[in-house]
């Protein structure tokens, strides 16, 4: 359509030369678009999900068409600038051509057809992305400034050995009684190849967006509603910082990232989840150890705002909230006085109901994180040890329901309550955590 514009708009029939020019230019544009379209794979990150392939194909088509239009417009522009430049000494005007109805219909109709086709194609891809897949695994996602947490409901059968259910901690028993599974939470997203996944996502504070560039999926997490995103990973790999928050959520929005581990198959996937499940089933008897392990796992976003030297290896370097070094001393003295609570109660309230007492000079920014009761008490026990003397200046009494009954998997394994679990967890858990730490440590 390009080259019909020019030569003889006044002549009745199209001249042969014009027709040849249109055909040649048309072919050149199509070839040019196809050549530009070849760049598609270079423009995307790794293609690691079923969705990615569909999105990339759609983009490829758009790039070919868009590339041809780009070349057409730039080509016409450059050609006109050269061909129709005013020569030195020329004083006249151009030809008084006011329009050409045929041409105007053509350049209205062709774009209309193009966008119609693109709409249909996009609609098809979108339907396929949204459609629930058979055998979907469900994972619950919580986004809070500036951290991701993933909760899986797993049956005890993934352990591969028998567990005496009567000896499990009381809250685990409740969980099992509900639906035969135990919910476990990790700061890393686990999945395996060709397993369709549906994430049910909640925002704890502000709007976040779950984005995995390698999967080409994105969905906002909106306070007050649960949103869903679906994907099917196709490449087994570890994706450090594979998840990135894409909706502005505050000071550290840029480092609200999380790792993804995609296992080869279900057995490998279960192996990845086993240590997390074991740490829930057989928690360390000492609440201080337990509390430290919970905070160190970064399933709660505490580290993004608070600084605590003891946990600096787990990236506790935030600068938004009050520093937690020496928090036990302050809890026992000034804060207990200010709130007329005991030190332990004060720490408990500060986690459980963050807005209740604000440390002077700090705003009410900490969201309700929905931390389970026993996790809060374990954290309190650990924080009580964060004093200048190194020992707890006050006692933290754990509620009965939170005292685990020492147990362990049968057979060769030693009772995992205590160090064995911690080590097992360390093998899988800490690796990605370190990867995150590396990525962000450079930022601080």
């Amino acid at each position: 359509m390009a080259s019909t514009t020019p030569s003889k708009p006044s002549s009745g029939g199209l001249q042969t030369t014009t027709i040849i020019a249109v055909v040649v230019v048309g072919i050149l544009l199509i070839v040019g678009g196809i050549i530009l379209g070849q760049a598609t794979p270079l423009l995307f990150p790794q293609q690691a999900s079923a969705e990615a392939a569909q999105v990339d194909n759609l983009f490829h088509i758009m790039l070919v068409i868009g590339g041809a239009i780009f070349l057409l417009v730039q080509g016409l522009l450059v050609f006109s600038m050269w061909r129709f430049r005013a020569r030195k000494g020329e004083t006249g005007d151009g030809e008084p051509i006011h329009g050409n109805t045929t041409l105007e219909i053509v350049w209205t109709a062709i774009p209309a057809v193009i966008v119609f086709v693109l709409t249909i194609l996009s609609w098809q891809v979108f339907n396929s992305l949204q459609a629930p897949k058979p055998g979907e695994a469900s994972v619950v996602v919580a986004g809070a400034r500036f951290n991701w947490a993933f909760t899986y409901n797993v049956p005890l059968s993934i352990l591969g050995y028998e567990v005496d259910e009567t000896l499990l901690p009381p809250d685990v028993k409740d969980d099992l009684a509900d639906d035969g599974t135990v919910s476990i939470t990790s700061a890393t997203l686990y999945s395996y190849v060709n397993q369709p996944v549906a994430l049910a996502m909640d925002a704890r504070d502000v709007i976040h967006a779950f984005w995995v560039p390698a999967f080409r999926v994105k969905q906002d997490l909106i306070p007050g509603r649960t949103t869903t995103v679906r994907f099917t990973p196709t490449v087994a790999d570890t994706y450090p910082s594979g998840i990135q928050c894409a909706e502005l959520c505050g000071a550290n929005h840029g480092i609200m990232r999380a790792d993804i581990v995609v296992a080869e198959n279900e057995a490998e996937y279960n192996k990845l989840l086993t240590p997390i499940l074991e740490s829930r089933l057989f928690p360390p008897a000492d609440p201080v150890v337990r509390g430290r392990a919970i905070l160190e796992s970064n399933v709660y976003p505490c580290y993004t705002c608070h600084v605590l030297s003891d946990l600096s290896s787990a990236n506790w370097v935030g600068n938004v909230g009050p520093a937690l070094d020496g928090v036990a001393d302050r809890a026992a003295t000034s804060r207990a006085n200010a709130t007329s609570q005991t030190a332990a109660e004060y720490l408990y309230t500060s986690i459980h109901e963050p807005g209740a007492y604000l440390v002077p000079g700090y705003g009410n920014l900490m969201p309700q994180l929905g931390v389970p009761e026993c996790d809060v008490w374990a954290m309190v026990a650990y924080l009580a040890t964060q004093s200048t003397s190194g020992s707890a200046p006050f006692e933290v009494v754990q509620p009965d329901v939170c005292i685990p009954q020492v147990s362990g998997p049968p057979g060769s394994e030693p009772p995992p309550a205590g160090e064995a679990t911690a080590e097992a967890a360390a093998e899988t858990e800490v690796v990605p955590a370190e990867a995150t730490a590396e990525a962000t440590a450079e930022g601080s």
Binding site: E51, V73, E90, G92, D205, L248
Partner: protein, 571 residues
């Protein structure tokens, strides 16, 4: 053939029309003269362009490295780009376009002033206090939620500066609405005899379309901002999910204004572009009616596409209708692009600085347009939503689009406003630096976004450092290019060559009077030429020669005059 229409009634007066002298003090106080108000708008807008540009330079300086190092906290960084966005949109592009509208619309209509001169001045004087509020907002507590101000980040987590910023935008919205009412009434009622709707200059058509959008859309922004401010200061919870509100309500109301606002920012520029391309290519606008109608079509369809900004948050079933409308709006935009190409085709193109920016617009805007269609496709948008791909797209349409047309407009109408020409050599330097700096600032952002870099981040993965370095260095070039123009304006105001009434030999009525025009604009009632873009028409040559004869020609004659006036035109 019809008899030649002369620009001045009767044509009896002899040539001695004296251009008035401009005094700086006239521009520093309340005035109801639309020309003074127009220049006031432009001067204030240029000032805030420098402010917003400085913030942009700080942003790009910070992004030279993947870590936070130039500013102290992430919140400060968020404040930089939030205020950058608000300033550039509400205190630069929109007031600048309003400035051109104020200056040109009455002149193009052959009128003495706008329909409501006092209201016009009042609308302008809302801008300086709003500007002070917005700049002040940075000092009293960070507005850190982007120009989109999404709650609950803006309502529950940002500082008091957010409230001030919202108040500032509220004032600017009122100013826009008052200005728009004025434009609609002026264009509807004050056209001269001999100027029907189809003889209306395309800049007036575009301003009319824009004003209709402003009047219909801006009240939604005002409503949304009122709720936002109440949430911040009065304890209401319209947007607080924890207390029965809904954060997405804001997104719908905000984008119901802010998508049409994109057309508020681009349509007047498109109008200016039609004037510039036709004049400097010496050819009628190709498909004048379609260009005019497509402005109206864009204005109308523009109201149905807002939720394409919410493709990752909107309920999935509701997304498809907005994809359809967003795709449709590409068609009238395409009509405009092809019509402009048709306009320069077969012309006698003069590569003035104004024309270079006009051609540069075509070259850059098409990139933004193609990116826009890609973004309308939901599956692809889901991947690049809130990434640098979007940052690239929006700057291609707002910088490569609106700002390029503003630059073209400045070079085209500066002679009319001041009576002096801008320096063409500096103008070409300005164009070259802007074009190259712009392209390499914003095109590589497409790659960063698609490969996985989100927008609004002070931290990014180390693999994106090389592309960000290219972007930042180009952005610094772009920043420098602005000062070439400002220097040009500064020296040309005093030392530029005398322009004469009609240096470009343009046919619209603003050129049929002295430069600058007298306070009543015209000495007699001017008679418009029967076709505002009748270049190449023999009658038009006579009409233009008559303007030259009546008002004299300047020292510099960028468009050469035919040797002897009754001579037939070139072809």
């Amino acid at each position: 053939m019809a008899s030649i229409t002369l620009p001045v009634g009767g044509g009896t007066q002899s040539g001695a029309a004296e251009a008035p002298k401009l005094r700086v003090s006239d521009f520093l106080r309340w005035s109801v003269d639309h020309k003074i108000i127009g220049v006031q708008y432009m001067a204030v807008a240029l000032f805030f362009f420098i402010v917003g540009g400085t913030l942009a330079m700080l942003i790009r300086w910070e992004l030279l490295t993947p870590n936070l190092d130039v500013v102290q906290t992430g919140t400060q960084y968020n404040t930089l780009f939030s205020v950058h966005g608000l300033v550039m949109i509400f205190l630069w592009i929109i007031p600048m376009m309003a400035g051109f509208g104020n200056y040109l619309v009455p002149l193009q209509l052959g009128a003495k002033d706008m329909a409501f001169p006092w209201l016009n001045a009042f609308a302008f004087w809302l801008i300086p206090p709003a500007g002070i509020l917005l700049i002040g907002s940075m000092l009293v507590g960070a507005p850190e939620s982007g120009w989109t101000q999404y709650p609950p980040l803006s309502t529950l987590y940002s500082g008091d500066g957010q409230t001030l910023a919202a108040l500032s935008i509220h004032l600017l919205g009122i100013s826009s609405i008052l200005g728009a009412i004025n434009f609609i009434v002026t264009i509807k009622n004050m056209r001269p005899a001999g100027m029907g709707w189809w003889q209306l200059p395309l800049f007036c058509w575009a301003t009319l379309a824009t004003a209709i959008i402003v009047v219909m859309a801006t009240p939604f922004l005002a409503g949304g901002l009122t709720l936002l401010i109440l949430d911040k200061i009065a304890g209401t919870s319209f947007f607080d999910a924890g207390n029965g509100g809904d954060p997405q309500l804001w997104q719908n109301v905000f984008w119901f204004y802010s998508h049409p606002a994109v057309y508020i920012m681009i349509l007047p520029g498109m109008g200016m572009l039609s004037e510039v391309l036709a004049t400097h290519a010496r050819k009628p606008v190709f498909g004048y009616k379609m260009v005019a109608i497509s402005s109206m079509a864009i204005a109308l369809v523009g109201f149905t596409v807002w939720a394409h900004h919410m493709f990752t948050s909107l309920t999935p079933e509701l997304r498809v209708p907005f994809m359809i409308t967003s795709m449709i709006i590409a068609v009238p935009t395409g009509i405009k692009i092809f019509s402009w190409l048709g306009t320069i085709w077969g012309g006698k193109i003069r590569f003035t600085s104004a024309m270079l920016f006009g051609l540069g617009f075509l070259s850059m805007f098409v990139v933004g347009g193609i990116g826009g269609v890609m973004l309308a496709a939901i599956p692809f948008d889901i991947h690049v939503h809130d990434t640098y791909f979007v940052v690239s797209h929006l700057h291609f349409v707002l910088y490569g689009g609106s700002v390029f047309t503003i630059y073209a407009g400045i070079y085209h109408w500066f002679p009319k406003i001041t009576g002096r020409m801008l320096d063409e050599r500096l103008g070409k330097w300005h164009f070259a630096l802007t074009y190259v700096g712009f392209f390499f600032s914003f095109f590589p952002m497409n790659f960063a976004g698609m490969l996985g870099m989100p927008r609004r981040v002070a931290y990014y993965l180390p693999e994106f450092q090389s592309v960000n370095t290219v972007i930042s260095i180009s952005a610094f070039v772009l920043g420098i290019s602005t000062f070439v123009m400002l220097y040009n304006i500064w020296i040309s105001m005093r030392h530029g060559k005398k322009a004469g009434a009609n240096p470009w030999r343009a046919l619209t009525l603003e050129w049929a009077t002295t430069s600058p025009p007298p306070s009543t604009n015209f000495i007699d009632d001017p008679v418009p030429f029967h076709d505002p873009y009748g270049y190449g028409d023999k009658d038009s040559q006579a009409y233009l020669d008559d303007i030259d004869k009546r008002f004299g020609v300047g020292e510099d004659v960028p468009v050469p005059r035919p040797a002897v006036q009754p001579a037939a035109s070139g072809d």
